[in-house]
């Protein structure tokens, strides 16, 4: 399989589609290469869709707003038939995230999954985590409003502050600093000036609202044995091979495919920094199963934390062997060799040799301990993480709503994320930008609609399925906080999905804040002008809108119905 440049995946390219199987079989039958192109219309109809939940959630609080217990019932659409991860998304990747950043001691979650007439629903940038974050962050903001507390205050009163933290929904968070993210976000968002900006909007006949979202993410699904116990049929490790050439340059073979995220840059930086060699002396190879060790790929914001960690483990082996070669060359004991800045030194002496000399010696082993050590400098490692990594952050969105048309304009958007160690800030910023855009797209305009009568997909082209455009956004204000991940060699956490996870509830909370004076308490995505206008009208006539769903007490609470 050779797939060097496949373009953005966002989930939809992980799955085994029927075409993959049919085409491979067909190619075998005629013993010839086959070219096949899926066109845009076909992709709309048959690519897996994302996010389709109807949920009912309740939170119990004490009089100070401290969360006591949460109860959730979710109906999840799986589509007409199962896709690769269909059942995992609304269960282990959704329910386990419902503790969020909070110390809620009791959480009960019940998920019913349904077959329907839609395209299969599977992982889409965030995969279960955006659904969980949307539900929780909407609920938390609502809890604050019910008690007359600010959106920041209700969160601060419930933040987890001790690590590691065992949630009641299986996950154990290793580290974070939720209040630091919120404080920085509030500064960047200039929250203190909100009241003045709101008054200014009102003068123009517009409604202004502010929305918070403090998300938690779980990246780098792991470990393999737990996933296996939960029914997964694949490992969750990653592989990396580091081949040091006689010239001292390095080629790295990684199982983490790059869909355009810039692995060639980020991974090369990691290797160059570790070996003390110029970054241009590092080549990254991916996307060719004939050349790379068996790997698992790129998904779930895992590439640097799992794929990068595998490369780090291979580099550990490289360093250990190189030290033995250096020890031999400098006639010292292995234990006395130190390696830093691309040079091997003997502890307590001024003896040193550069990395390149060791590399050459490995392949021209004339002065070499051949009796104890194989020639060559080429190591492979497989890394299976012991836990997820847990990026987190606080997003603050400010919207302005046109009272006449219901149009929602994102006026300000601030995101402060904790991704642990950051290797390449520009690439990380790009990931956050893209994620936020996808999240706001979901919150304001994107929607798959099927005809009620015929079951036909109505949003079958970009004439009807609204993709966000650059003009729909302000410049985002971004910053990061760093609490390094405690259990992988780089301290990294994963940044690919955070923007898409954290942003939708921030937007809808802002819309609800703006519409609050009209009595609107509930709103479902997307906040298209027509839907916002309808909410404004209903809000004016019926001050309290409650969801029409049956209450949770009618459910079986997870037990078989009598």
């Amino acid at each position: 399989m050779i797939a060097p440049d496949v373009g953005g995946g966002f989930g939809s390219k992980i799955y085994l589609y029927a075409e993959d199987v049919a085409l491979t079989w067909g190619s075998k039958q005629i013993n010839r290469a086959i070219k096949w192109t899926s066109d845009r219309s076909e992709a709309f109809l048959s690519d897996a869709h994302g996010r389709d939940h109807v949920s009912h959630a309740e939170m119990a609080m004490d009089k100070d707003g401290k969360f006591l217990a949460m109860r959730v019932h979710t109906d999840a659409n799986l589509g007409a038939y199962l896709s690769t991860f269909s059942t995992a998304i609304p269960t282990i990747l959704y329910a386990t995230l419902l503790a969020g950043q909070y110390t809620t001691p009791q959480i009960y979650v019940e998920v019913d999954a349904w077959f329907t007439n839609t395209a299969p629903v599977d992982a889409y940038r965030g995969a279960g985590r955006p659904e969980a974050t949307y539900l929780l962050e909407r609920l938390v903001t609502r809890c604050g409003w019910e008690l007359g507390l600010g959106q920041d205050e209700i969160r601060k009163r419930n933040f987890i502050r001790e690590w590691p933290y065992q949630t009641p929904v299986a996950l154990q968070y290793d580290i974070g600093d939720y209040e630091a993210c919120m404080t920085r976000a509030q500064e960047l968002a200039e929250v203190s000036g909100f009241a003045a900006r709101k008054a200014e909007s009102e003068k123009k006949g517009k409604l202004r609202g502010i929305g918070y979202s403090s998300y938690i993410e779980a990246c780098g699904l792991a470990p393999s044995n737990i996933a296996g116990a939960l029914g997964a049929r694949a490992g969750l490790f990653e592989a990396g091979e580091v081949r040091v050439h006689p010239t001292g340059s390095v080629t790295v073979f990684t199982g983490s495919h790059s869909h355009g995220q810039g692995h060639e840059t980020t991974f090369a930086q990691v290797v160059a920094a570790r070996l003390g060699i110029p970054v241009e002396n590092v080549d990254i190879v991916h996307g060719d199963t004939g050349r790379i060790p068996f790997g698992m790929g790129t998904y779930g914001s895992r590439s640097i934390s799992v794929g990068g960690a595998a490369i780090m483990r291979a580099l550990d082996k490289i360093e250990a062997k190189a030290k033995k070669i250096a020890a031999h060359l400098m006639e010292a004991s292995d234990a006395d060799i130190e390696f830093a800045g691309g040079e091997f030194t003997v502890k307590g002496t001024d003896k040193k040799i550069p990395f390149g000399q060791v590399a050459l010696t490995a392949y021209v082993p004339h002065n070499y301990p051949l009796d104890k050590l194989e020639p060559g400098l080429n190591e492979t490692a497989f890394y299976d993480p012991t836990n997820f990594t847990y990026p987190s952050g606080t997003y603050i969105c400010e919207v302005e709503i046109d009272k006449g048309t219901g149009e929602v304009k994102i006026d300000r958007f601030t995101a402060v994320d904790d991704f642990g160690t950051i290797i390449n800030p520009m690439i990380v910023e790009g990931q956050v930008h893209g994620g936020i855009v996808q999240g706001i797209g979901q919150a304001l305009m994107e929607n798959c609609v099927y005809d009620n009568e015929t079951g036909q997909l109505l949003t079958g082209s970009f004439m009807d399925y609204a993709m966000p455009r650059a003009e729909d956004f302000p410049n985002f204000k971004l910053d990061t906080v760093c609490t390094p991940c405690t259990h992988n060699p780089l301290g990294t956490k994963g940044c690919g999905e955070a923007g898409a996870i954290g942003s939708p509830p921030a937007v809808i909370n802002a819309v609800l804040d703006a519409l609050a004076p009209l009595g609107v308490k509930d709103f479902d995505m997307p906040a298209s002008p027509a839907r916002v206008w309808e909410a404004m009208k209903k809000g004016a006539t019926t001050p309290t809108q409650q969801p029409q769903e049956p209450s949770l007490t009618a459910s079986t609470q997870g037990r078989p119905a009598a």
């Binding site: 219309s41 006449g404 048309t405 219901g406 149009e407 304001l444 305009m445 929607n447 609609v449 109505l458 949003t459 082209s461 970009f462 004439m463 009807d464 399925y465 609204a466 993709m467 298209s528 002008p529 027509a530 206008w533 309808e534």
Partner: protein, 263 residues
Amino acid sequence: MYAFTFERPDTLDNALKLVAGGAKPLAGGQTLLASMKLRLSAPEQLADLGACKDLTGIRKEGDALVIGAMSRHLEVANSAEVKSAYPALADLASRIGDRQVRAMGTMGGSVANNDPAACYPSAVLASGATVITTKREIAADDFFQGLFTTALEDGELIKAIRFPLPKKAAYEKLRQKASHFPLVGVFVAQFDSGVRVAVTGAGNGVFRHTGLEAALSKSFTPESAAGVAIDDSELNSDLHATAAYRANLISVLAQRAVAKALG
């Protein structure tokens, strides 16, 4: 896209011969080419009108502006003649679709296609313009006949459109977020004889709103437009908006267009 042959006649006579022989006229192609790509349309031959010099040009004729059918949106938007004589029309053209559409799409193409959500038909109708074809002259009130239907006969091509110049005019629209066609667009034009108001995007095709016209002829103010109740019973409901919402937009956009026209 299915296979087809492509001709590029350099005179209107040659174009008419090709069209009489069954060729589909191509006037910018911003709808036709997309529908061919989707295989919703499969002409065997295209006759690109882009080289017909007799279909271009923008000129003042007495109290009217005559715009060649193959004038691209960008040309209309940037024309000094249109900007000074009919700024609302230049403004409308400058906001059609996106940059690519404006660089390729033409006024004649848009008007002949009569998409129920196109921008130009509202200007043509609200201006009481005249569509000059290869056979005759057709008043805007007679030209637009609902959903992709016009008074054009087979083999009849639009040569130019003659716009009387209003005292004041403006166009306001709310874009449908996916296509960027107007969800609703309202063009108001004030003449000595009264005010004409044309609405696009809301119904089966562009239409005049007599209630708004009567009120605005009496008093050309946003408040006057706001006082008109908009009946939603004939308006579209689809996945983007309900008829009630479209009725609201007609009212809101009419008020804003009047405010804009007043400056």
